[in-house]
């Protein structure tokens, strides 16, 4: 079965000489929920722009479900739905028209386009707003409108470029649930996001891009398995006069009521608490210092860059 997305040696050099992509290879399996992560300016949006035919590539090849984007452009485009990072609909058009017109661009007859628009606008909680001018929607609604528009031709591959940026947590959670559902129904999803807990929660596979190169491409499970050390933040019952020394763990002072303790993968948490009790440190509560993926992401990007 062909890959949902396959990039081979894709390069992009902008007119000003900036080399945005340095020959990337990437495969996404059908049905996958795939994260494409990277710092700002790493090449994520350029990659997505090339796949969506919004940016001309300099070299290499792109195929979507086996259709080469140069040789079978129409077939490749028909397989793809895009939710871009920036709002890119006409704010002076009613919501329903934006979705219906997009269906029309893919050759879907108008009556069927209205039926599909109703389906997806209802799914995404926008049906009541169908006659409103798109510019009057809230930020979260605009994002959902772009998702409805991207889905109206029922693409096999959906690419979402930071779909939850600036969206409140309630709407973000409902969008996650919706994306999980359409992925479970068989649609391949590629997601870029700066909320790494979003990628960790949703995606099964991941690629990290930095400075125009793929620096990691693996399963989420395997990537998280690389994390050797986690940092726990400990809230203490009484103030400490000095930093305790523990035989098996490194601890750091945050303030008189808070400590940070590093715990290796092979260490036992029980041992940490035994050591803390021996040092007469009473812990009220604990939490992870940061998102695990965030920590890995920072490590990988740091390692990739010349010191």
């Amino acid at each position: 079965m062909p890959k949902a997305l396959s990039l081979r040696n894709v390069t992009k050099v902008y007119r000003n000489g900036f080399e945005a992509l340095k020959g990337i290879d990437l495969d996404v399996e059908p049905g996958d929920f795939f994260a494409l992560l990277g710092p700002n300016g790493a090449g994520k949006s350029t990659t997505i722009g090339i796949v969506a035919s919004l940016i001309n590539k300099t070299g290499g090849s792109v195929s979507i479900f086996g259709h080469d984007l140069d040789r079978e452009k129409d077939a490749a485009k028909a397989c793809l739905g895009l939710v871009p990072q920036e709002v890119n609909f006409n704010g002076f058009e009613p919501v329903v028209e934006i979705v219906v017109n997009q269906a029309g661009y893919y050759g879907i007859p108008r009556r069927q386009a209205f039926e599909r628009a109703e389906h997806y606008l209802r799914e995404l909680g926008l049906w009541e707003k169908r006659r409103d001018m798109a510019r009057t929607l809230s930020g979260g609604m605009k994002r959902r409108l772009m998702i409805a528009r991207a889905l109206v031709h029922e693409p096999r591959l959906l690419i979402l470029d930071e779909p939850t940026a600036g969206v409140d947590i309630e709407i973000r959670r409902s969008m996650w649930a919706f994306l999980r559902r359409i992925n479970a129904e068989g649609r391949t999803i590629i997601l870029t996001t700066h909320y790494l807990e979003e990628a960790e929660s949703l995606c099964r596979n991941i690629a990290i891009i930095d400075q125009g190169e793929i620096i990691e491409n693996t399963s989420m499970k395997r990537l998280l398995g690389k994390l050797n050390v986690e940092t726990l933040v400990l809230d203490l019952a009484k103030p400490l006069a000095h930093l305790p020394t523990l035989p098996n763990h490194t601890v750091r002072w945050v303030d008189e009521l808070t400590l940070e303790a590093d715990i290796r993968k092979e260490d036992s948490v029980n041992q940490l608490f035994t050591d803390l009790a021996t040092a007469d440190v009473q812990v009220l509560s604990l939490r992870n210092k940061s998102n695990r993926l965030e920590q890995l992401f920072m490590n990988l990007v740091r390692e990739n860059r010349p010191s």
Binding site: N88, N90, Q102, G107
Partner: protein, 257 residues
Amino acid sequence: MSLRRNLIALQTIVIKEVLRFSRIWLQTVFPPMITTALYFIIFGGLIGARIGEMDGLRYMDFIVPGLIMMAIITNSYANVVSSFYGSKFQHHIEEMMVAPIPNYLIILGFVAGGVARGLTVGVAVTIVSLFFSPFSMHSLGVTLSVVVLTSTLFALAGLINGIFAKSFDDISIIPTFVLTPLTYLGGVFYSISLLPEFWQGMSHLNPILYMVNAFRYGLLGVTDINLWLSYAIILGFIAALFTFSLYLLNKGHGIRN
């Protein structure tokens, strides 16, 4: 399958374009009616009464075809340049770029929108003209074909302006400094036979002269120019502008990095 898909895509662009200018009719259809009424009152009525006849016609009757054609030209052009630049500015041109629509269909869709506005304004201005001049139709075929071909030509020109435009200033420079002077000097208000020989010759370099005269022939049966030459020039310009705009879109000029 592909033909049907393409026809639906074209229909969608045309509907979108027609709805766009219809929704803002107060900015798109109504102003040319007011402007043309003023031209009729001031030039046709007040000044024209002192001018007398032009090419054997009452001056008011002589300027009717030119004024209708002027409204058609400026509105066909303005519709496409503002719509295409607007879609670039707001990035919703990307809606078409991600879809499997051939570039020639994007051109046809935008041009059809421009022609639709040109024709709508043409009909509206013609209705206004009936208050000042009796309706006359020498040849329906010539009139309709010249209107459609001329608005197609200027819709294509507006599209090319929209493709090149990088700011709102860029979409007003050509209409102000090229289109308006050429239209005024294209025999809207006078017969070129009034001009000295040198300026008559120079006027023949102005393509709008051919369109105004062909249209005047369609309505009134009088023209300064050979009708078939007018058709040849209009069709030649359409072919050249279509080819150029297709080349620009295929290259992604102004829309694709």
